[in-house]
Subunit: 351 residues, 2 copies
């Protein structure tokens, strides 16, 4: 059972997915109980495919047996939202409104390796993951009940990881989530006033200043933004403005994979494998071709704990200026040239 309830005081929806198997006081258990520190019994390891819900998509370069995949997508076994739910709305009282938890919740297993981190993968493997995310994004936006697709990755216990085997997740929501709506409103207003994409201006200004640029290549720029909300927050922005991550060409996807690996390696080495969350902020349904927005990738290290001030105010306290973060990370030299393994370049989908 899954549903959404509207919070009239803050004008946003909350997702409820109470597990019937859990009693209320078990709210803290899921993250700790199912870690699979080693590969034994890990549902994401090759050979254990039967332990997951049915496969949605997989990259199988060799057209081989069921376990010969390099990237694999399955439904989340404990989904926050489900395709089967009815998205119609209900009044539960004068100001109380709910709707069915209609959506999708998928897991993208990023490699066969239980222990290798994303930054340790060959660039071509990272590229295959990004291409898989694009494919799932496009497929889910084909379902007109879904408004936004949230693409994210959690790394480490303090970032909310419950399964160790590296993976991404993707949640399709039947409403436009609060943060995406806010970003759309601000970017639309800026476009109305100036005729420019706010994210393009932000990128231009950051490049002109230069102090917060972490790395760049011909297609993408990685930076710690001027108003970073957390220490070492890092964004990757495209030089060619596109509102949807789904529109990035396959050539540029390789370039993005290369820069993402460099950034993650810098964070890994400089900060000793920090926990982090990664999100891909992309246009909601119907906004994919709008001029006012540019998709971007955010990496949010979990070095600090938001506490009462953040929860009471909605503001962030950041103890590290982004200029200082970049200066610190720049001391770590990283190249991807020698880490590219000869991974097959053609991906085949099954089913």
């Amino acid at each position: 059972m899954s549903l959404l309830r509207f919070d009239r005081t803050t004008n946003d929806w909350v997702v409820f997915c109470p597990s019937r198997a859990m009693r209320p006081h078990d709210a803290r258990l899921p993250a700790a109980s199912d870690g699979h520190a080693d590969a034994t019994g890990c549902p994401f390891c090759p050979g254990n495919e039967a332990l997951t819900p049915p496969e949605i998509y997989a990259v199988r370069p060799l057209r081989g047996l069921p376990h010969d995949w390099t990237v694999r997508v399955v439904s989340n076994k404990f989904p926050a939202l489900r395709i089967e739910e009815d998205p119609s709305r209900h009044d539960d009282g004068p100001i109380f409104r709910s709707m069915g938890g209609c959506g999708a919740h998928e897991v993208i297993v990023e490699s066969r390796d239980h222990n290798a981190l994303l930054c340790q993968q060959p660039v071509l493997q990272i590229e295959a993951v990004l291409a898989t995310l694009q494919r799932r994004l496009g497929d889910l936006l084909g379902d007109r009940r879904f408004q936004s697709i949230i693409i994210f990755k959690n790394h480490g216990a303090s970032a909310g990881t419950s399964l160790r085997h590296p993976h991404w997740q993707l949640i399709a929501t039947p409403v436009t989530p609060r943060l995406l709506r806010l970003k759309q409103i601000e970017a639309t207003q800026y476009f109305d006033q100036t005729g420019k994409c706010l994210y393009c201006v932000l990128l231009e200004d950051e490049l002109a200043d230069g102090r917060r640029i972490l790395a760049q290549n011909s297609d993408f720029v990685a930076l710690c933004p001027y108003s970073s909300h957390v220490p070492f927050e890092t964004w990757i922005l495209p030089r060619l403005r596109q509102a949807s991550f789904g529109h990035v060409s396959s050539e540029r996807l390789h370039s993005l994979a290369d820069l993402l690996k460099i950034v993650l390696l810098k964070l890994y080495r400089a900060l000793d494998n920090p926990d982090f969350n990664l999100t891909v902020d992309t246009a909601s349904r119907g906004e994919e071709d709008e001029e006012y927005f540019a998709w971007h990738l955010r990496i949010l290290p979990r070095l600090a704990t938001p506490a009462g001030f953040e929860l009471g105010s909605g503001m962030s306290i950041n103890t590290v200026l982004p200029e200082d973060a970049v200066a610190f990370l720049s001391e770590v030299a990283v190249t991807t040239n020698h880490t590219v393994a000869p991974t097959p370049t053609t991906a085949e989908a099954r089913p």
Copy 2:
């Protein structure tokens, strides 16, 4: 050094308080390094008053020696915002804007006891803490540079506590923080449309439904709200609508202390002393007498970890329905009758 930077993409301010003593990669250190698990060397323990910044206020029922206090307020040794900073704004580029980190950051030591939790304090001691918060709120709103006062308490490591000796904090901000602004906008719109205070209607509807009411007395109601963002989120709302927590009468403050103790005891016993954050959401400067808002207290247990979905969408996922939370907590019987110790009732301020 402390400053604020404006995030043009989300229309809010970020507080930066880089410590000169810390290098960037020490971002994770402060919370772990200064825990004072026992009372030795604890700056908040009686006798160690010299270890804190100068005292701002204290309750000294016996007009005794400097260490004969029962509640004590000092400046935070590592303040997020400082009274000395200049609040004027600066343009750092076409879309980059900053301002000095002008504000205040105070610590309210809630009792002399290093180990007793707030729920274990006598009602009169809790009342003395609430009265001290009111006094500091009124004093800080007297400084016209401050727009909002964020009152909060962190309990437990996962809630961001860095010092074990129980305390509250209070941060005065030179801008209206994002969440308070959002709540003001929504409540104002609701009032414009209906002529009613949204929070009063919410309380009426919750009382009419009844399933989410946790406890109540003649002056206040404790409930787990319909659209709780986290498991076991609990609000306390006043029956007599007042926009500012500072306007609560001293008689009602006793009643609030009593209900707060009951609620905290229920959470403590049912959930085995959970980590939590507590905030008092009160009217910003100039809104203290407005009809559209009612101050309220929020307790946010830290049973779950917000992860990539929450950071990417701004939405919450909650695994426990508030009705189920109340049913579970209601099995815990609690009274405060026998825990009220004979604490002096007259509080004297010094200096």
